[in-house]
Symmetry: C3
Subunit: 162 residues, 3 copies
């Protein structure tokens, strides 16, 4: 019983991290985004094809919380893109049973919908999160988050993180 | 332990309300829809833009369970729209920690897909539910449900509630 | 308390089955797919319209695990379709309260997104899973899975199971 209780509590914690991450981005609270990561971290958006071929090319790649913060500044200063709303849908979350001392391995399916002014809502990106979570103090944070998108087309309109 | 248990039980209850709401609409059991609300209630569909500007314009607005029931009758009597199926996807549910005596504050992301006869499935609306839940007898009900949709375009084809 | 604990544990088990099923298909581990079913089983993809009219016509129908395995071989040997990635989103899972001795009745909404090379991600199919789950040894398996899709259009591009 105690084990089940621990599993449930952990699962809720992971879901809460994912949920808060999605809401922060969908609310355009970009300055909150780096706070979901540890100081040393990896955030990258890669295509499924490149990941499978072991190719390092990434659409976005940040290797520390400081780089994430820089990225936010860059987005805030860029005026060359049309206003848009994003909406994250996350499903099929899976915590690897081997997750242990060095962190939790978690995967989930995602779809990010995007709505531009005067346009219909469309699918910006669908794919999989491949994450490593660690505990920092009392809270879970991303040690790494890899967003593996299904399309081979480079979606050059990806402005915000996924 | 007891607190975690209470949290989990409450979370399941909220999820069940959301799930039954989605199934009732997707099954076109419209007559069930008002039953998810308290007698005095608010149901509205507003654009993100209007909500942010504090403008009261809503695509749909009902201020009591009786008005919800009226709305259902109106939909049932309207023959001027093509048959369609809807499909709700709900994700990233968040129960506010401050939720207490006057009810629960819950938010979630939603996407409603729509399929018309002889057409492909498309995204009818994506956005956020902003809800206030209260207990009526043994069951949780919506004291208010605000559907904030991301598009600025008025989707004039919204026939059914979201 | 013990009852709530049992309910939660069961719910997690069902969610895990759904999650592993989705990941196996999205990872194109097709050979794993039959393993989610009991030896005698039913897997079918039917339109909402046919289901409501009680018409037996199905887009895909397999009546045993052996038939599921045959289906996988057929897909693997078919070279006449373009490479594609699928992405399952599952939401609003509902375990029927009457579920008992003869198995669990579970329903959920699904959307399967599809991405072809050089194309944008689109909605391949949206609809409802109507499932019967039974325990085989220690694990839950599908005794039957019926995928009821919303579109009336026959999506002739459905290659993989949903």
């Amino acid at each position: 019983m105690a084990r089940v209780q621990r599993d449930l509590t952990l699962r809720l914690e992971v879901e809460e991290l994912y949920t808060e991450y999605a809401h922060a981005l969908d609310n355009l609270e970009l300055e909150q985004w780096p706070e979901f990561f540890t100081d040393e971290c990896l955030y990258q958006i890669v295509s499924r094809e490149n990941l499978e071929r072991g190719m390092p090319l990434a659409l976005m790649r940040c290797e520390s919380k400081a780089m994430l913060a820089d990225r936010v500044v860059t987005i805030r200063q860029t005026q060359m893109f049309a206003p848009r709303a994003t909406r994250h849908l996350v499903s099929s979350m899976r915590i690897a049973p081997s997750s242990g001392a060095d962190g939790l391995d978690v995967q989930a399916n995602y779809a990010v919908l995007e709505t531009l002014v005067d346009e219909e809502t469309r699918i910006l990106s669908a794919g999989r999160y491949i994450d490593k979570l660690v505990r920092e103090g009392d809270v879970l944070k991303f040690k790494s988050r890899t967003c593996v998108y299904d399309s081979v087309l480079v979606p050059n309109s990806i402005i915000y993180p996924l």
